[in-house]
């Protein structure tokens, strides 16, 4: 078997065949599921920890600071130390809180981001499951997180939490529209909802270049709306530490708080990778149609590098948003969505459809 970092299809097939050769198909399926589950769990933890570290470093540099620099060289073990601290902290139970829902909420949030991760193609052939309705699935699953936030706010028996949860509910329900519509713009161009095909179609140019003006507008709208959907600044009204102390997770402590914390960063990674996949070609290297030599050179860079590079750039953009802008007020947040983003988006879809109809895209 040849291990190819440019194409994981044969690697996957090799695992599948070797498992099937030693056990019955049912058990092979179960084993594969278990392997994927463990791999994703590890990936989740590593990416989460790294993103927390990255956020702290990035914001430190933006604020003329050094950031974490005590634990390990350049403070790279800081988040691990934090994680250990959070594991050891006491789980405070709130009087008169709804115990079941209170405990359930962090898991719902974690599971929502976990499920959405499975549809993302990291490289050719490297994805857990390749739905033909991939985008629809991701939108549907990732918005489950709001249920967790609402439950957390409700069950905490805390007024700040409740206000935060209600804000979050209004916010996510609204911005779900813009996220969906901006992705729809690209679906109009691509003609498919399957992630692997969307990436494959960008072989001769990423969609943001192919679809030019409407695609760029859609990308900006997606970036804003998805920042709002992940409850990150400047749209972090659900937490709004200067108004609601910590919003919906005020009463959570220890590992349960860590779950919320991790889920926030994971959601950020998720929307960044969706943006990278849909608009910037995912793992597809930068190709310019006609420049065969240039394209070959680009192909030598492994797809995982392309994928993580693009995702990291979009994550950096989202961090730049968070650490630059003041927070919006709840009515301004909804005004932005319903009076600006949604109309722009609707016109943009028409524009894109017209473009596709007239073959004015590249």
């Amino acid at each position: 078997m040849t291990f190819n970092i440019y194409d994981f299809t044969s690697f996957n097939r090799w695992i599948d065949e070797s498992l099937n050769s030693i056990m019955s198909p049912t058990w092979a399926l179960i084993t594969e599921m278990a392997i994927i589950g463990i791999v994703f769990l590890l990936f989740y933890a590593v990416v989460g920890l790294f993103l927390v570290y990255a956020e702290r470093k990035v914001c430190a540099f933006m604020q003329n600071r050094v950031g974490p620099n005590r634990v390990g060289p350049y403070g790279i073990f800081q988040t691990i130390a934090d994680f250990i601290k959070l594991l050891m902290k006491e789980l405070v139970y709130i009087k008169d809180s709804d115990k079941l829902l209170f405990n359930l909420a962090p898991y719902i949030i974690i599971i929502a981001s976990f499920m959405a991760l499975s549809a993302i193609p990291f490289a050719k052939g490297l994805h857990a499951i390749d739905f033909d309705i991939g985008i629809l699935y991701v939108i549907a699953v990732s918005s489950l997180g709001v249920v967790g936030i609402l439950l957390a706010g409700w069950s905490s028996n805390n007024k700040y939490s409740l206000i935060g949860a209600m804000r979050s509910g209004a916010q996510i329900v609204s911005y779900e529209l813009s996220v969906g519509l901006s992705l729809l713009t690209i679906i109009v161009l691509a003609g498919t909802m399957q992630f692997s095909e969307i990436v494959e179609m960008q072989r001769n140019g990423w969609f943001i270049f192919k679809g030019h003006i409407p695609a760029i507008i859609a990308f900006i709208v997606f970036l804003i709306a998805s920042t709002a959907e992940t409850n990150r600044g400047p749209f972090d009204l659900a937490e709004a530490e200067s108004e609601l102390t910590a919003g919906f997770h005020t009463e959570y402590s220890g590992i349960k708080f860590a779950f919320f914390f991790l889920a926030e960063y994971m959601n950020m990674f998720l929307v960044a990778s969706i943006a990278a996949t849909v608009f910037w070609g995912g793992w597809m290297p930068f190709h310019v149609s006609g420049w065969a030599g240039f394209n070959t050179i680009m192909d030598y860079i492994p797809p995982l590098v392309w994928y993580f590079g693009k995702t990291a750039f979009i994550i950096w953009l989202m961090m730049l948003f968070k650490w630059t802008f003041p927070r919006l007020r709840i009515d301004q947040l909804l005004t932005l969505e319903w009076k600006y983003l949604l109309p722009i988006n609707l016109v943009n879809i028409l524009f894109m459809a017209f473009l596709v109809l007239m073959h004015w895209h590249f």
């Binding site: 604020q63 802008f325 709840i330």
Partner: protein
């Protein structure tokens, strides 16, 4: 259970949703407790509860001699510590009819304006933070550090300097003082452009602050909202212009007035005041006359019996020192009219009908310092 079901729906809707904001809350800037009555996100009414950091400073004044009083005034409005000291010294000098040397007046005025700048810098930092822009906080503190270093070199302390003493200042300025102040002004004139770029012109910030927390001029006067907050309502209430003390009658500066009466106006007044303060310092810093740094004072200072009142313009507004002396070395009664205390009383009026987020912005724009309220 049955009773709850049978409650008319209207009653539940009209039921007040009481939220305790504080005493430990990120945006009350200290231990202030605001009891909010909410309807949804809208603030129906607000009751401030203060006293969590009440130290009985006015009672302590009554056992302290006048030089000792000064170090306590530091701890009222710690962000304009020097100006508080200045008020006590002016009061003592007025009562004793002492003329302080010119050099002292220059030094005090420059120090006052440095105090005002650093206070406004910290205000800007926390204002940005209250609106959710955390980066502002670090930019403001970074630039404030330069002033603290200047102070540390001359007075020995970074924050609560106790630099004034009746009749003059404790020590002469450090030889590096002028050079460092020049360096600071040069740097800060560049950095303050960043402040405007990151917050003042920002569309989110404008939406968050314009039309929020309107306080008309009449209300500002009635509530006694002085200082930049009052001037944001178009009330010309600068003590430096009304009753000039130290060098303020001889320097040229504009009293910054805005007439929008909202949070944005109060913000812009403070931003503009930093420029004016730098302007004042630039006029004075190169012309400090030679001479003593203190007038001759008796070892024990006793004010003649009578009543004295001294107003100065602190960074937050009009600071009044009211002393009743019975001829002893300690004041018989000393009352401090602190600006934050009066400014706080208008918070309820300003924030009714606003949202929680607006309340945070209004509170930040009033620039409350809690020890100044509680004393």
């Amino acid at each position: 259970m049955k009773e709850i079901i049978n409650l008319p729906v209207k009653d539940l809707e009209q039921e007040e949703y009481i939220v305790n904001m504080g005493p430990q809350h990120p945006s009350t800037h200290g231990v202030l407790r605001l009891v909010l009555s909410l309807q949804g996100e809208i603030v129906q009414s607000l009751k401030p509860h203060c006293g969590y950091i009440h130290r009985g400073i006015e009672k302590m004044f009554e056992k302290d001699t006048y030089p000792q009083v000064i170090h306590l005034t530091d701890r009222m409005d710690y962000l304009s510590a020097h100006i508080n000291n200045h008020a006590v010294c002016l009061l003592v000098e007025k009562a004793l009819e002492i003329e302080v040397p010119e050099r002292v007046k220059y030094i005090r005025t420059i120090m006052d304006e440095l105090t005002r700048i650093q206070s406004h810098q910290l205000w800007w930092s926390s204002f940005g933070m209250d609106l959710g822009g955390l980066t502002c906080f670090f930019y403001g503190l970074r630039d404030r550090e330069m002033i603290l270093d200047i102070w540390e070199e001359t007075t020995g302390s970074r924050f609560l300097q106790s630099y004034n003493c009746p009749g003059g200042v404790m020590q002469d300025i450090h030889p590096n003082f002028q050079k460092k102040v020049h360096a600071f002004i040069k740097t800060f004139k560049k950095k303050i452009r960043d402040y405007d770029r990151i917050l003042s012109g920002n569309v989110i910030f404008e939406n968050r602050s314009q039309g929020v927390g309107v306080l008309s001029k009449e209300d500002a006067i009635s509530y006694g909202v002085t200082g930049p907050s009052g001037r944001g309502s178009g009330w010309s209430c600068d003590v430096r212009k009304m009753e000039p003390y130290s060098m303020y009658s001889k320097v040229h500066f504009n009293e910054v007035l805005r007439y929008e009466c909202d949070t944005y106006a109060r913000y812009m007044v403070r931003m503009q005041e930093m420029h004016e303060s730098m302007n004042i310092i630039e006029q004075l810093i190169d012309n400090i006359p030679a001479g003593d740094c203190s007038a001759k004072m008796k070892a024990v200072i006793k004010l003649p019996a009578g009543e004295y009142f001294q107003r100065v313009e602190s960074a937050r507004g009009e600071l009044g020192m009211y002393v009743i002396s019975d001829g002893n070395k300690t004041p018989y009664r000393m009352k401090v009219r602190t600006p934050s205390f009066s400014n706080l009383s208008a918070l309820d009026h300003m924030s009714r009908g606003m949202k929680i987020a607006d309340l945070v912005a209004i509170g930040a724009s009033l620039d409350l310092v809690i020890p100044d309220i509680d004393r």
